[in-house]
């Protein structure tokens, strides 16, 4: 199989397969969580705080007072990576074209120079976060295979995409095929790795806010 054939497979059956696994996995994992249900809380609620869970979904995106200073690398690295990744993913014109082909939805893209900057920022932030994980005693103790895997799965599409866009390698078709395959691997493994936090954190934040609200803690 040469680069072009690989590219054709990645764009067609490969993409369908990856999306299928991703959707199936997200449903499976969500059911696994939600089907456990909640234990009845026999204590009467301290306060009636409608919307506490929903508010926490948003409010938890900001660092609580004092935390930015305590863990600047974790917060700043985290923001730069997530924003850079999202901008690159959703506002690079060829990506929007692809999404339009699959979902029929589209929106205006950003100029390539901005996308380029966002990609570089995300890559640098990821490298900084990796070093932080290797150096910080807490993170090193907590980290296991799943953390390194999640990092590699996320880094690969950024690196291959950057290489493809800048024509770093002779064989453009192959580089692009590798880029698409790396995304497909990311999609297929997302539900079964730590990357699933992109879905489950909404549940976790909601429960957290709801539980705190019942206890009379403002969110």
């Amino acid at each position: 199989m040469n680069g072009l054939e690989l590219l054709t497979w990645a764009r067609g059956p490969g993409l369908a397969l990856a999306l299928g696994i991703c959707v199936f996995g997200v449903i499976l994992r969500s059911v696994e969580i939600l089907a456990l249900g909640r234990k009845p809380d026999l204590a009467p609620a301290r306060a009636v705080t409608p919307g506490s869970g929903w508010r926490t979904i948003f409010s938890r995106s900001l660092p609580p007072p004092g935390m930015l200073r305590r863990a600047p690398l974790t917060y700043l690295g985290g923001y730069v990576f997530h924003l850079g990744f999202a901008v690159t993913l959703f506002f690079f014109v060829p990506h929007i074209e692809l999404i339009r082909g699959v979902l029929g939805l589209s929106w205006p893209g950003l100029p390539n120079s901005l996308i380029d900057a966002a990609t570089i920022a995300a890559i640098l932030a990821m490298i900084a976060l990796l070093i932080g994980r290797l150096v910080d005693p807490v993170k090193r103790l907590l980290s296991g295979g799943g953390d390194w895997l999640a990092w590699a799965l996320t880094f690969a599409p950024l690196a291959t995409g950057y290489a493809a866009y800048h024509h770093w390698f002779e064989n453009y078709a192959l580089t692009l095929a590798l880029h698409i395959l790396s995304i497909e691997l990311l999609l297929a493994l997302l539900p079964f790795t730590k990357l699933f936090h992109v879905v489950s954190l909404f549940m976790a934040r909601w429960y957290n806010g709801d539980i705190a609200g019942r206890k009379g803690v403002a969110t």
Partner: protein
């Protein structure tokens, strides 16, 4: 597997519900919860990271309530939770958490770690790995009604109103004056509680 250990693991399984499963699914090992925990900030020892205190509970969740974990267990690839491990975790779960709730307010993915530590204690208690003093106090509370072991006669003596001293007893006891003033000062409390 000892009976108490089985009870402990069953209690672990019982306390795991949808919130706990969503919390464990979401943790990205960012370490921010440690930065809020006084046991870590005061010692610098990473084992006090709040999420670390929950490791046996996390593995129970993964092995029992996820497809991947169950497959890994069937294939013999997962590390089962052991009685010795729970014994080793007891100081982390009990002595190294004041239930202050700071970690739960900071975790960026929204994990309520305090709630999970509280739930884990239920399993640890069922397993007999609660601290000695707590076990004794609980046993006393169940058998005698008082965690501190105060006997019923003592309570009765404290709550029964004293009779006002008679003239005879007053002359018989040199400390009668002190007694009578103590009795009178106690009386209003009794009348309030019976009201």
């Amino acid at each position: 597997m000892s009976a108490s250990f089985e009870r402990g693991i069953n209690a672990f399984k019982e306390v795991i519900d949808a919130p706990v499963a969503s919390f464990f699914s979401s943790c990205v090992h960012c370490g921010l919860c440690a930065e809020t925990c006084l046991f870590y900030t005061e010692t610098g020892d990473p084992q006090y990271a709040p999420i670390r205190k929950l490791e046996p509970l996390r593995r129970t969740w993964f092995q029992e309530y996820t497809l991947l974990g169950r497959l890994a267990k069937l294939a013999g690839l997962s590390k089962p939770v052991t009685d010795e491990e729970l014994a080793a975790w007891s100081p982390l779960v009990y002595d190294s958490c004041s239930m202050c709730g700071r970690c739960s307010m900071v975790c960026p993915v929204g994990n309520d770690l305090t709630l999970m530590i509280r739930k884990m204690r239920e399993g640890m208690a069922a397993d007999g790995h609660a601290p000695e003093g707590l076990i004794t106090a609980t046993t006393r509370a169940v058998t005698s009604g008082s965690p501190a072991g105060v006997k019923w006669v003592t309570v009765q003596a404290q709550t029964t109103p004293m009779k006002p001293p008679t003239a005879a007893s007053r002359s018989a006891l040199p400390t009668s004056r002190a007694n009578s003033s103590a009795a009178s000062s106690r009386r209003p409390r009794n009348s309030r509680s019976s009201a």
